[in-house]
Symmetry: C2
Subunit: 193 residues, 2 copies
């Protein structure tokens, strides 16, 4: 009988994948090395090659896992009650651009870096982006914004949240809080001044 509640002392495939996400966030794809990962897991690579055919096998699994998680997350975060679409948009902006959820953003950036040099990763990023833009666009249209502009604002929204993570600004600065609010207003389409 399988014990699912208590984490097994043995490593399974998913445990390796989760550890891979940690390494991905900290060191990027290039820093994701199986022997290093094994050391971090307290085992040797003999274990790794039991669960995975090779390094690429792990990378593919990481990508698929990331894709599924992102899609699930998007659908969850953009599900808004009628009339709550605007606050939903603001919430999405806030969740992504805040300094919390830092690890998730580091993974996001690592995957996008990955996608610049790997066709498979690029394809998955395109897919995730496509869904994100669709979901956000739906929210904007529900706010009464024309389809064309809704798509533009969606693009601006995600470009902003990813871009702001690339910039070395102090995101915990209380002075930044007001600026983030202003930017959120600009993207969401509210009045600023």
């Amino acid at each position: 009988m399988k014990q699912e509640s208590r984490p097994s002392p043995q490593l399974d495939r998913d445990a390796w994948i989760q550890a891979a996400f940690d390494s991905l966030a900290d060191h990027g794809v290039d820093g994701l090395r199986v022997e290093v990962l094994a050391k971090r897991c307290g085992v040797t690579k003999g274990s790794f090659y039991w669960h995975f055919r090779n390094r690429q096998d792990l990378l593919s699994a990481v990508l698929e896992n990331w894709k599924d998680g992102r899609i699930r997350d998007i659908l969850k975060q953009t599900r808004a009650e009628p009339g709550e679409e605007l606050s939903c948009i603001r919430h999405v902006i806030e969740v992504y651009s805040a300094s919390r959820n830092r690890k998730g953003m580091l993974i996001e950036l690592a995957v996008r870096d990955w996608a610049r040099r790997d066709a498979t990763a690029a394809q998955i990023v395109r897919k995730v982006d496509s869904i994100r833009l669709d979901c956000a666009g739906r929210l904007f249209r529900a706010c009464g914004i024309a389809p064309e502009e809704a798509r533009s604002r969606s693009l601006l929204l995600y470009a902003y949240v990813f871009g702001i993570s690339l910039m070395s600004v102090e995101r915990n600065d209380p002075l930044m809080a007001g600026q983030r609010q202003t930017i959120s207003d600009l993207i969401a389409g509210a009045k600023v001044s």
Copy 2:
């Protein structure tokens, strides 16, 4: 007498740095290896270690070179005649978000990826960001925008242009042209609809 017009058949320090930028754009910092670089230059690493103490020496030089180039570029691009500030802003947005200048953006992204794991790189990126925000803020204020909002719009501007480069959208799509225009309007503060 030094020949400056004709490129020397010998490699000098700057030639190595330029080649390093190519490698940086294509493979990131982690892919910037001295033996690989030497092969690309048609020489062996014996040449490299003549011009540089070690790999870190090259990386530091690349960083400094990037910083100087960026600062020079910012000052040049944000120098606007009185009354031309708005078009100057739009021009900055267009230059960065367009698919041309692709190599420059790849280097930009590589350096920012680098900065996430290296304190020196992070410091230089902060410096460049600071100057960029100051220069853009000056343009916005010249357009009659309040200092607070000017800073927010500057932040949005650069976050957008870097973020859009992270997204795998078809930037050559003629459909995208209209959206980029709409976004440019939103950032610059023009009317959209």
